[in-house]
Subunit: 495 residues, 2 copies
């Protein structure tokens, strides 16, 4: 049975476990994940408290729950392991985790100054700082943006702002029947489609614009798409750091086109926005200061825990015009400092304090520490690129934007030197099917985690580097293990 003393004991044990995860992160040849099937997991947890809940679920003992929590750690993916290269995020900065913990302990909502006096001011300070880095205006009394739960929702809100500018009756009368168009590159994020559906526009409203071979939008293709659509152009979503190749759309010519046609320019910098921290890399976003809105996920490259997303806007007064409902039970005009309340400028009501972790980590690291993080990631990606170049054809780059994604294939000896264009269809099919087999072997061995995805019809590996703990040895070992498993999988496939 659960009682006060047991709860205290369990709390302490769980808190110690959480600290332990951070204090001694898995590294070197430790497994990134102990691979288990769903059935394995069910069987494992059945030795402690069971994964499911019975109809009259009992209270379990401190020891049992603690053992279950240890199983959670045991069977989870260790994203802090420097050989986790799987996604556009990685293990968190311990200082961000500590900030997250403190925010959870103080558990409040960031919607009102009354409930979150310090956090309200922190949000404003961070939004102003980030807006300054992007070259957005910061002189308004209203903070130049919002914290949002993730990049997809921030993109949704940005498109709604764009629609509201075009259709000011939207908030009361609803959207007009005019068919609208949203332009995004073929390599852009699916948040464009998801948002178009939720806004009631439908995926037909999303016009995919052609890219160059690296994945950056072609301005002349955008110009043609704008000319050719019978729909009324609503917004261009320019991607600053695509998910697969980390391509940056050329923002200056896109901004020119948007200006010429009076189209809202939204920059999806979820991933690549953090290049603004680095004097060496910020040229990739040249022109971002001309955008109407920008989304930036600090939980990707900057080691914040899930989630830490900001939507920056050029004209902050549009936020209340678009989102306000003036709920009188919450945003009382007659309470103390109610004009600081942020909740009526966004869609959410209660909102987790995502600002604190970023604020603390930034105060500790300074701008310089954030710059170093980006530059280290690029340096490690450069190291991977040099290994690929020197692999005598065993590994071949498929796209290369020079940023933190390394996109490549393993090439069987028979197919070296690799040339995607002249690959026979049956070989392309073989190689396409090989990647999942290689990935599965690496995952089951726990050697490393890295993703694959189709690029030009061929499953292609992608090393994504975010974690400052990644060393040259990690990169070498990962590519080495990949080549090893690839050779095995290839021989098995041929046999």
């Amino acid at each position: 049975m659960s009682d006060q003393l047991n709860d205290e004991q369990l709390f302490c044990a769980l808190a110690d476990l959480a600290r332990e995860v951070l204090a001694n992160p898995r590294h070197n040849d430790d497994p990134v994940v102990n691979w288990a099937s769903p059935e394995d997991l069910v069987a494992s947890f059945s030795t402690t408290v069971g994964l499911d809940f019975a109809d009259h679920a009992p209270a379990h003992s401190v020891d049992q729950v603690l053992a279950a929590a240890q199983q959670v750690v045991e069977w989870s993916v260790h994203t802090s392991h420097p050989r986790f290269f799987n996604q556009n995020f990685a293990g968190p900065d311990p200082l961000a985790v500590a900030g997250d913990w403190l925010g959870a302990a103080l558990n409040t909502t960031n919607a009102t100054f009354e409930a979150a006096p310090v956090f309200t001011l922190m949000e404003a300070a961070l939004l102003n700082k980030l807006a300054g880095l992007a070259g957005f205006p910061t002189k308004s009394d209203i903070p130049p943006g919002l914290f949002c739960p993730g990049g997809s929702l921030a993109t949704l809100y940005a498109l709604q702002l764009a629609r509201h500018r075009q259709q000011p009756d939207l908030t009361t009368a609803g959207a007009s029947t005019e068919p609208l168009a949203i332009f995004v590159s073929e390599s852009g994020h699916y948040a464009a489609e998801k948002s178009a559906v939720l806004l009631g526009l439908g995926t037909n409203a999303v016009i995919k614009v052609a890219t160059d071979t690296e994945g950056a939008m072609l301005p002349e293709a955008l110009a043609a798409a704008i000319e050719n659509t019978p729909r009324s152009p609503l917004a261009v979503i320019a991607t600053a750091g695509t998910t697969v190749t980390a391509a940056f759309d050329p923002l200056e010519p896109l901004a020119d086109l948007c200006h010429e046609h009076n189209i809202w320019l939204h920059v999806d910098g979820c991933y690549g926005g953090s290049a603004l921290f680095s004097p060496q890399q910020r040229h990739r976003l040249a022109g971002v200061e001309r955008a109407d809105s920008m989304v930036w996920n600090l939980h990707k490259m900057m080691g914040m825990t899930q989630q830490c997303t900001v939507l920056l806007v050029r004209r902050p007064e549009q936020l209340s015009a678009c989102f306000s409902t003036n709920a009188d039970y919450l945003f009382q005009p007659d309470k103390l400092f109610g004009d600081y309340d942020s909740g009526d400028r966004t869609f959410q009501c209660a909102r987790r304090v995502d600002a604190l972790k970023l604020w603390l980590a930034w105060k500790a690291h300074g701008d310089h520490g954030f710059t170093a993080r980006i530059d280290h990631a690029v340096a490690m990606a450069d190291h991977a690129r040099s290994i690929i170049k020197e692999s005598q054809g065993a590994l071949a780059a498929v796209a290369d934007t020079g940023f933190t994604n390394v996109v490549f294939v393993w090439v069987p000896p028979e197919l070296r030197p690799f040339d995607l264009g002249s690959l026979k269809p049956e070989n392309q099919k073989q190689l396409h099917q090989l990647a999942p087999a290689i990935k599965a072997r690496m995952q089951q061995a726990g050697d490393a985690l890295l993703g694959y995805q189709p690029v030009n019809g061929l499953n292609t590996f992608r090393l994504l580097i975010m974690n400052p703990a990644v060393t040259p040895t990690d990169v070498e070992a990962t590519l080495g293990r990949l080549a090893y498993h690839a050779q095995q999988a290839w021989e098995q496939a041929k046999a």
Copy 2:
């Protein structure tokens, strides 16, 4: 300058601070909040690291950042204090906090089985358990719902599911031009309006249905509203626990009407859904099992940290039909156990692991522990009601649903016995202006935090009870201090 050793030292100090917040929560006559104006806060933080960021923000020392974190605690609202009665949430269950911490340490996204094997199964287990409590079907292979970042977004998604059922071409062609109607009671949450705006329907689509004097929707008023609208009925949002009075709309007759007219029934149980944990209280939601969808915030009554929201759905297969985009870089059909991936059934891409904290706390407390939490809250509200009844007219109930909200006014001696209906306009105005003055005094003194909001044109106090640490003494002290400040404010207002 920030370096590895400093980071470790700072992490440990911050983690200790977070534990300290939970280990020694403020209580009794400790201040709930140390009141400070924005200017006070700026001045305070300027003694450590400053609230804002300079253009070239320096790295601060461990001591300075730690001192700043201590200021965060010092100036924050202590929602764990048993005299925080301000909102539909309160200080968290320490076990939920520990679960949240562990999730942050393991930092991953719940979108794919690959990145979140354990958490994917936990989400499914919890969704099935909660759906079972609500009487929703749980036999599908697909989990009967989603975890969402908050109740407003869950309501948005539910309305989108409703629209998709009515307009199956929605996802590609966009919404039809048919004007739709969403019915919600006058006491329902503003998420209805916000969602209608975001979906492109506009607030005109939201039809407010009259309630009884406690705030519960009148079924005959709903029937009339459905008959009278020229719009096509889309959904009824029934509120199970309104924000102000905790009124429960009568679900059985509402379900009858929805069935008769083929309208989607969505139950907003963000607040009151947790009544389902208590055999004594679950009758308030009788009929919920007939709904098409239901949202339930476990971060309100159940002490989970911000946020822990579930959207339950009757027909889980509608989720992918409505939200899927089949992004091939993430939801590869050829990877291991990809059919367990949850990310393509919802709007968000990366998603914080909100399930772990609920799972751990529930395993430790059992169903019985969750029941006790609700019953204790109602018992403490009953205690407040009895004090009001015995106050010889100094306090007067304004609405009373018998649940965990106590809605009342303080009555000046000259106006006792209180009768809102026969109050002279000038007295009503005086009393209306008195509430903010009382609240400000209590807030500045740190005695307690509780909200006020207009009910029938009169600012009315609301004691919201969630925290199992609330004792009869806390309730008595809070009402006593309120009466004291009220008398002072009244005398000042008259002077």
